[in-house]
Amino acid sequence: MPRPVWVLGAASNRFGKMAETGREAAARVSLEAIRRAGLEPKEIGYTFVSNAFGLAERQAHVGPLINTALGIPEVPSCTIESACSSSSAALHEAYVHVAGGFHDAALVVGVEKLSHLDTLTATSYFAIGADYPFESHNGATFPGLYATIANAHMHRYGTTSDQLGAVAVKNHANGALNPHAHFQKPISMETYRSSPVIASPLRLYDCCPFSDGAAALVVVAAEKYPNPVTEPVVIRASARAGSIADMHDRPELTGLPASQRAGAEAFRQARLVPAQVDFLEVHDCFTIAELVALEDLGFFPRGAAGPATAEGVTARDGKLPVNPSGGLKAKGHPVSATGASQVVEVFEQFNGLAGRRQVPKAEVALAHNVGATGSSASVHLFSRR
């Protein structure tokens, strides 16, 4: 049996545009997470770094740089890459190491800096995350691939543009209350409706922004830290799954099989069911992705997530708060920091640190993080002690 594992500390910088380099930001949030956990850097046994687009900063192998800055140059490190799900993949690896008894404490840190690239270059970087010769070379961009999901979902289930807009309006309302968020400004449905089309039917406000950011987690063996200084985030399940890389070769276009598989496996590991989850952080790189995630994870039947969102079910004060952090949509999407930052939100909610965005009940939470168009997915379930 794996040992019980906790996230004992978590920290994030403000997403958006960083003046400093990725390695500086990564080291800073790491030290903050370690201090929040009540640990010293020397207690860390392994550092798992995610920095998928590190080469955009002309820097690879950033783990030793971070560890050196933290005063622990002898600690092993490696970089875990799984596109937009990189740091949830890193969390999974840290979980496996700690649960398996190889180390008593591990550091997970995700960082990305892309704001120095122009939109064309950044769009091209993201296109590399898909199957370049068979998708991107045939005209697909990253928003374009999710746009085809939206097109198929609307056609099959009657999902509407305003239902997509309801996701954007909700997540911006949440982001407005999150000091870590890239966008801290609510938007109206009218703003959504009048925003330019990027890849039909997706508008500008359906898309997450290119963000810089860094987020870190301290993962420990519960038995080694009997007197935690924070409310530990108990990792009840850590599941990952893959699916056929190319969207066109998958049996369905209106769901992501990797999310379905990782979700089912997570609920099995945790012996929980969706009805027991108090709030979720899901991968809303585009508004349609939030609706598809809620359906893939079993929270709504196919086609029902859009109407439920429009009715306010997933609002911060609704029956099932979804993305109280603002999600990728408003908090921002610094690719490799995103998965870890979802867990920062869980940590802050469990510890009563979420301020005005605190959800009514925060005892069981789910984090869902997708790589590319769902060729990779991670689902973690957390509870309080």
Binding site: N151, H155, V197, A199, S200, P201, I244, M247
Partner: protein
């Protein structure tokens, strides 16, 4: 090199990604594979069928005719298509089975195309798999 297991079927590794992309850009062929076991048809390079897991992919000549399964009008392109936007990126269900990614330079707005529309592959020297309305 170890002997190949004769029961494992023909090695699809005989084809390269370059042959696929050259196939439709220069040789005017839309290459594909069909799994002898499950019948899955794909125009994506691979070694083993991604649906049934058997190493029995056989070359299949694809007609390039089919129906639109989903599409989007790309107004913000990547570098490779920077001079072509707006255009449609389409997923096409081929008549013989299988679905391929492609683009339609002549389709420039949502009203120009619908799910279910018939399209056909146009051999072209320009990037990628191109379709036109049938």
């Amino acid at each position: 090199m170890a002997e190949r297991d004769p029961a494992a079927g023909e090695p699809s590794a005989a084809h390269t990604i370059r042959e696929f992309t050259h196939g439709y850009e220069e040789e005017r062929r839309l290459r594909g594979f069909r799994s002898a076991s499950c019948g899955f048809v794909t125009a994506t390079w691979g070694l083993v069928c991604p649906r049934c897991g058997r190493a029995d992919l056989e070359e299949a000549a694809l007609s390039g005719e089919g129906r639109v399964a989903a599409f989007t009008i790309q107004t913000v392109p990547s570098e490779e298509f920077v001079n072509d936007a707006p255009y449609a990126y389409v997923l096409v269900d081929l008549d013989e089975g299988g679905r391929v990614s492609g683009w339609m330079p002549a389709v420039r707005s949502d009203g120009d195309l619908a799910i279910g529309d018939r399209v056909r592959w146009v051999p072209s020297y320009k990037a990628g798999v191109q379709f036109e309305k049938a």
